[in-house]
Amino acid sequence: MGASKMKAEYKIPGGKLLSCEIGIEDEVIKTIKISGDFFMHPEDAINELEVTLLGTSIQSYQDRILKFFQKREITLYGVSQQDFITVIQIAIDSE
């Protein structure tokens, strides 16, 4: 238990690179920064995605991500919803 900071890099099949830095306290996401050379339209949706994940437990963040993309009209290239889940999971598992 307690607080920890984790990082992960995930090479998406096809070429793009996805990175994630995440701070977790008592199994809840406290900080998160996603980065990479992908495309998301509109671009500022990335900030909303990160804010949506704050305060989410590491058991339920996948649902949050899927719901986020259901709610909004967002176009992704070089990355998929599942890739975001994958890189976050790699970070969580790295503890």
Binding site: E9, Y10, K11, L17, S19, K33, I34, S35, G36, D37, F38, F39, M40, H41, P42, E43, I46, T75, Y77, G78
Partner: protein, 255 residues
């Protein structure tokens, strides 16, 4: 009748000004009914631009940039990091409304069409290249141009780099290449995946020659006349404001 588009021709500016001009043209397009616009330009001093979503520290060797006097800037477009070598690179930008029929509304298809203008232009130089989805142009299997697009204010803004005679060694001194990215492709040197026009042709070409070919590529692809023009006074005002955003610590270091 062939339509006239505006060409802003080979303006040389620093990184924050170049990025501010691209954004200002996009903002002004529908607000002030300015013409569809193509820019060809060079960066002075040389600069690294990173994609909107990229981590500055991860992608850029800031010490090397300081040492070599290379500027660093964050774009409003996604995609990867680019080294804009003042002595070896031309950047283009392309602004038309999303309603413009000559560009598909589907983003991937629109990359293909706009990059097609670059491919056509390169052909006039003897460079046989092709569009490689999502956003690259390759010649002889190596990247010769990278491109990035955003849609906002009802407008498509695409900009991209054309490697003319870029210093590829310097490029990989100022850019950090992630180990994850190298190992996956099983290529010893990342340098081998990138080329430039001079290397491809095995001869020197001037910027003017490349510029002429690119203009012809755009004119033929979109069936337009490119007429040299300047920014409007409204656009120049916007550039002043936007330049401050691109210079700000908050913008550059946001990821």
């Amino acid at each position: 009748m062939t339509e006239d588009w505006r060409l802003i021709d080979m303006r040389i500016e620093d990184a924050p000004t170049q990025m501010a001009i691209d954004e200002a043209i996009a903002m002004a397009r529908l607000r002030y009914n300015t013409p569809n616009t193509i820019r060809l330009y060079r960066w002075k001093p040389s600069a690294v631009s990173i994609g909107y979503f990229q981590s500055l520290e991860k992608e850029v060797n800031l010490d090397a940039c300081r040492k070599f006097g290379v500027d660093v800037i964050r774009r409003i477009t996604g995609g990867g990091a680019v080294y804009h070598d003042y002595n070896g690179e031309i950047t283009y930008s392309f602004v038309v409304p999303e309603s413009e029929r000559c560009v598909p509304s589907d983003i991937l298809e629109s990359y293909q069409v706009i990059c097609g203008a670059i491919v056509n232009g390169l052909r006039y130089l003897g460079v046989d290249s092709e569009f490689k989805p999502v956003n690259d142009i390759v010649a002889g299997g190596k990247k010769i141009s990278g491109n990035a697009q955003t849609r906002r204010h009802g407008v498509i803004l695409q900009h991209g780099t054309i490697l003319v005679d870029s210093d590829l060694e310097r490029m990989f001194q100022v850019l950090r290449v992630s180990e994850a990215k190298i190992s996956d492709k099983l290529i010893k040197a990342v340098q081998e995946r990138v080329t430039n026009i001079r290397k491809y042709l095995g001869k020197d070409l001037g910027f003017i020659e490349v510029r002429d070919a690119l203009v012809r590529g755009f004119e033929e692809t979109f069936d337009v006349n490119l007429i040299a023009g300047d920014l409007t006074s409204e656009e120049e005002e916007m550039v002043k404001d936007l330049r401050q955003k691109y210079l700000s610590y908050e913008w550059v270091h946001q990821r």
